[in-house]
Structure formats: structure tokens, C-alpha cells
Symmetry: C2
């Protein structure tokens, strides 16, 4: 498959959207089966097993469902937990997280979703993220825009798309996650992250000049939905390390199709001047900036790059690698 025709692309896109809807329904059914009221009897197993086991089972069920569905298409597939090796090559590959936001799902906090990315020649070109309890489906197909619930184009504000604030990160919503690495060590990722969050949040001039006075700090517990809200224009900046390609493949496709950019979380040697490249899909370090319209003095891309550099000046390098 050297190239994909527009017709093939359409077929794969429609298939992916439907697959996400079906898989999302499984997730929602799983959540509802744990509730007690309204004709939805709770499963005995829920009371006997730990909620973690229940979630693992749903996760595996949805993964099996997705894999079986994709088998018909005959592409390579891999998803969360299969391996820590980076397996994406030039062949068409599905990169799937059957359940992103696992902790949220355990607690039935609605910020959970299925995330399906279709990667071709190393680039995510189709992405679908479906959060069934929010009734929000985010999707994109290369060259055809990014969409909310099939009908509303992303970003939501697009007439015109608002420019980024002149003094970003001030005025921005900054999205970030605390993650699983909670070691109490000066060089641990928890300390590095929180120092970075503090710099972004603190008043201008504070923290030795690093204070960014962002408008708000948000943590949802789902990398896929963080990226969806970047594409929507709801979050201005997402900075994160530690997640994997299955968490972000669909989000990469959706954010880029909406006009956002994703580069690496870790500042390079010369954050003021180094080239701002695309984040490697499997790099575990991500910095996304929302779609931005032009102002009177700069293009949207220039404003995005300015914002990236302002973030890089304020954050500490994170320490995540692949095994």
C-alpha cells in the first residue's frame, strides 16, 4: 500500500468512527453495569473483585473487540500493554487505547474514552476519540478537518480562530497531568513536573522571572481528552511526559488537522532559537498548543512557536525514556 486513495481514506475513516462508537458503547455499558439503580443491576463481580480488576476486564474486552474488528482490514495493530517497544513503522498501523483515563473510569468520572489512531508512513492521519459518558466524539481525517460529533468543526471558535494572547502563557488555560511517577526525589518526575506547574501558574515576575500567570491549570487524567480539548481550542497549552503512543496517536491526528501543533515537552539547548520540530509519536514527551489565528503582528504559527518557547523557558526537563 504505497499510497492511500481518497476513497480508501474515506472507507478507513468511516470504519474508525463506527468502531469507536461501538467500543465506546461497550465502555459505557461496563460503567452502567456497575451502577445499582434504574434497571441497571450491579454485577456481583463488582462487589467481589476490586474495581481495578473490573476495569482490567473491560479494558481487555474492548481491546479484543477492536482487534477482532480490525482483523477484517488486515492491518497491524497494537495497543496499550502489549509491549513497551515502539512498533510503528511505515506500514499502515492502528494504534489504540481501548480505555484512556483508566482511573477516571474506575471512579466513573466521565473523563474516559477510547482512542483510535490510524498511522500511515509513520504519521497519524486518522484519529477518533470517543468519550461516551460525555457524549463527545472527536474525529479527524487527513485533509478533511477535525470534528466534534461529526457536525461541529474544530476548533469551536473559528470565525475567526482567536489569536494566542500577546503575553502567553498569561491568559492561557494550561493543561497538565500529575502522572504515575510519584517518587519523592529531587530528580524525580513528580518534583520536575510540580516545579514546572508552579512556574506556569505563579504571578509574572515571580519564581525568578519564570512566573507565567496562566489563566487556569487543569488536570483531567486523560491524555487523549487533553489533546481533544487542545483541538477544540478549550485548552491553550498541554505539557506532559510519561504517556505512550496509544494515548496520543489519535490526538496527534486531531490536533494537527484542527491546526494545532505538537512538539516535545523538554526544552532544547537554545529554547529561544532552536527549530521547533514535530514531537516523535513514541517520544513520551509532548507539548501541544491549540489552533491559533493570526493577529495584526504575527501569523498563527508564529504565535504558536512563541508560546512553545515561553513554555520551554519555564519548564524543567522530564526524565522519561523507552525500555
Amino acid at each position: 500500500m504505497a499510497q492511500l486513495s481518497e476513497e480508501e481514506l474515506s472507507g478507513i475513516y468511516d470504519f474508525t468512527v463506527q468502531l469507536a462508537k461501538d467500543a465506546g458503547r461497550l465502555l459505557l455499558d461496563g460503567a452502567k453495569s456497575r451502577m445499582g439503580d434504574d434497571g441497571m443491576p450491579s454485577l456481583d463481580t463488582v462487589e467481589k473483585d476490586s474495581s481495578v480488576d473490573v476495569v482490567t476486564k473491560i479494558d481487555e474486552d474492548v481491546e479484543a473487540f477492536v482487534k477482532n474488528s480490525i482483523l477484517f482490514l488486515g492491518e497491524e495493530t497494537y495497543s496499550k500493554g502489549a509491549t513497551r517497544e515502539y512498533l510503528v513503522d511505515d506500514l499502515p498501523t492502528w494504534v489504540v487505547d481501548p480505555l484512556d483515563g483508566t482511573v477516571n473510569y474506575t471512579h466513573i468520572f466521565p473523563m474516559f474514552c477510547i482512542s483510535i489512531g490510524f498511522v500511515f508512513q509513520g504519521e497519524p492521519i486518522i484519529g477518533v476519540i470517543y468519550a461516551p459518558m460525555l457524549n463527545q466524539l472527536f474525529s479527524s481525517c487527513r485533509g478533511r478537518g477535525a470534528w466534534l460529533n461529526d457536525t461541529t468543526r474544530l476548533p469551536l471558535l473559528r470565525n475567526p480562530i482567536p489569536p494566542l494572547p500577546d503575553n502567553a502563557p498569561k491568559g492561557c488555560i494550561f493543561s497538565c497531568e500529575w502522572g504515575k511517577d510519584r517518587r519523592d526525589a529531587p530528580d524525580g518526575n513528580l518534583v520536575r513536573k510540580v516545579e514546572s506547574f508552579m512556574n506556569m501558574a505563579c504571578e509574572l515576575g515571580g519564581r525568578g522571572g519564570k512566573g507565567g500567570m496562566v489563566h487556569g491549570v487543569r488536570s483531567l487524567g486523560s491524555a487523549a481528552l487533553d489533546l481533544a480539548y487542545i483541538a477544540m481550542g478549550s485548552f491553550d497549552i498541554w505539557w506532559e511526559g510519561g504517556c505512550w503512543e496509544w494515548d496520543v496517536a489519535a490526538g496527534f491526528a486531531i490536533v494537527r488537522e484542527a491546526g494545532g501543533i505538537i512538539t516535545t515537552a523538554n526544552p532544547p539547548g537554545a529554547p529561544e532559537t532552536d527549530v521547533i520540530g514535530k514531537a516523535p509519536l513514541g517520544g513520551r514527551l509532548y507539548l501541544a498548543v491549540r489552533p491559533a489565528g493570526p493577529s495584526t503582528t504575527e501569523t498563527g504559527r508564529q504565535a504558536q512557536e512563541r508560546t512553545v518557547r515561553e513554555v520551554w523557558k519555564r519548564v524543567v526537563k522530564l526524565d522519561y525514556s523507552r525500555p
Copy 2:
């Protein structure tokens, strides 16, 4: 009005739910009018004015709508911004935030809502929180339970209601907000909050024994919705200082009716043994713990109190007062 009959209560409850639905629709219309696609022309004013002005206008419009509606009932009303004095007395009083999650609304991140509390003899006895872009309406009436979208009883998991983890805060979703006080001062609320967040998040044994290893840290940017998700059982712990009674009045009613508790954020002199009282509605310091079922060794209330004490051991006193 010395007492309220069940009939009067029903009338006020139905009125409040309808009022929240109507007001929420105004919020949603306001958001949609700023989007450009799908037959929803963007307002010229949006491009001319800053988004802050636009939001202020919506906020005022919705407040006027709510006030006009409530005037028919002839009760006292006050809401956000009217004054910083605490005005709730024994008379029936409406405590309203026409738009909670203002920053989210500005950015069209769906975590915004209208919050309407009906306070009688100093106690919030009816609460309605409506997040129109999430299509989630949380409501409660004294003695009649707390509900999601009129039909699903809260908390969501209730057959049985899960106990709190034995080793809480480990295993808990911890919800917290960064707030507006961003001073770079050792005794500022930003530093106090972040130190507390770090203690809650850090591995067990870390931070001089204060590490709580919570399952996840969440920040939504809406106190009303934080409390709604406590009532739902999605968040286990919410710890916050700085917000006002209009942010929490409806949430107080809903959380308590669902079986959760709300006490003060600031640890007392003897966090291990001091009586755990109700948080004053206007105290600006709140610690909420979700509804909890019994385990084999303790009642739900005992587990909630144990959790409160474990939080108090880990957090720093916040510095918020009334003018």
C-alpha cells in the same frame, strides 16, 4: 415562614430545576453564539471586545434572568459579585452563581455551569447545578435524595455504595484547584496549596511521612462541579480554599443529600481527635468527602472522618478570610 411544608418544598424544587435549565440554556446559547459554524454566526461583538467582556455580559444577563424569575417568589437573593459580606440569615435565601467556571466558559471548555442553592434557616436544602455543555444536571431536595438528570440517583455506585479505601487517601481521586492567588510568597496561598497537593500526591513514606499517594489529582476549574462529582462518587476528596458561598451553596445541598460530608479545609489544633463539624457555608475553606458505604470494620461516616483526618495531616492551612 417558620417551616416549609413538603408541598412548598416540592414547589420550590421544581421551580429551581426549571430555572437552572432555562438559565443553562442561556449560557449555552451564549457559548454557541461565539462559534462560527453550523448556522451559528459569531457575534461581531466577540471579535471587537475581549472575551472577558463577553463573559461578563453573559454572566450579568443570566444573573438578571435568575433574579427576575426569583422575584416572583419574593425571596431574598444574592449572587456572585454583589458584595463580599456574608448575607445569609435565617430567612429563605437564594444563593446563586449564574456562571461558575468562568475561565472555562471563556475558553469554551465544557466544565462550566449555573449553580442555584436555596438556603433555609442557614442550611442549603435545595441545590441545582446544571452544566449545559455536558448535558449534566445535578439536583437535590432535602430528604428526597440527589439526582443526575432527574432520573439517576447519586452516588452512581450504590448497590452497595463502595466503602472508602482502607488506606485513604491512597486509592482516592483528589480534586483541587489552583485558584487566583498566585503570589510568589512563602506564606502565600499558592505555595500552601502546592505543598499540600504534593503531600497528597507523593509516594507513601515520602515528604517526611506525609506522602498520600492518591490515585489521581484532578483540577476542573469549577467548585460547583467539583462538588457535583463528589456527590456522584467520582471524586473521593475535594480540598479547596478561596471560593465563596455562591460557588458552593448548591453543592453543599447536593453532596449532603447524596451522603457526603463537607467540613473545613484547615486542620484544627488536634487533627487526630478534634470534632469534625460542618463547614460554615461562608467560610471559604472546604473539605468534602464522597458518600461512603460501610466496610466490615467501620461505618461510612467513620471512614469519612478517618479520611478527613488523613487529609488534615497532610495539608497546610490556607489563608482566606472575609473582608
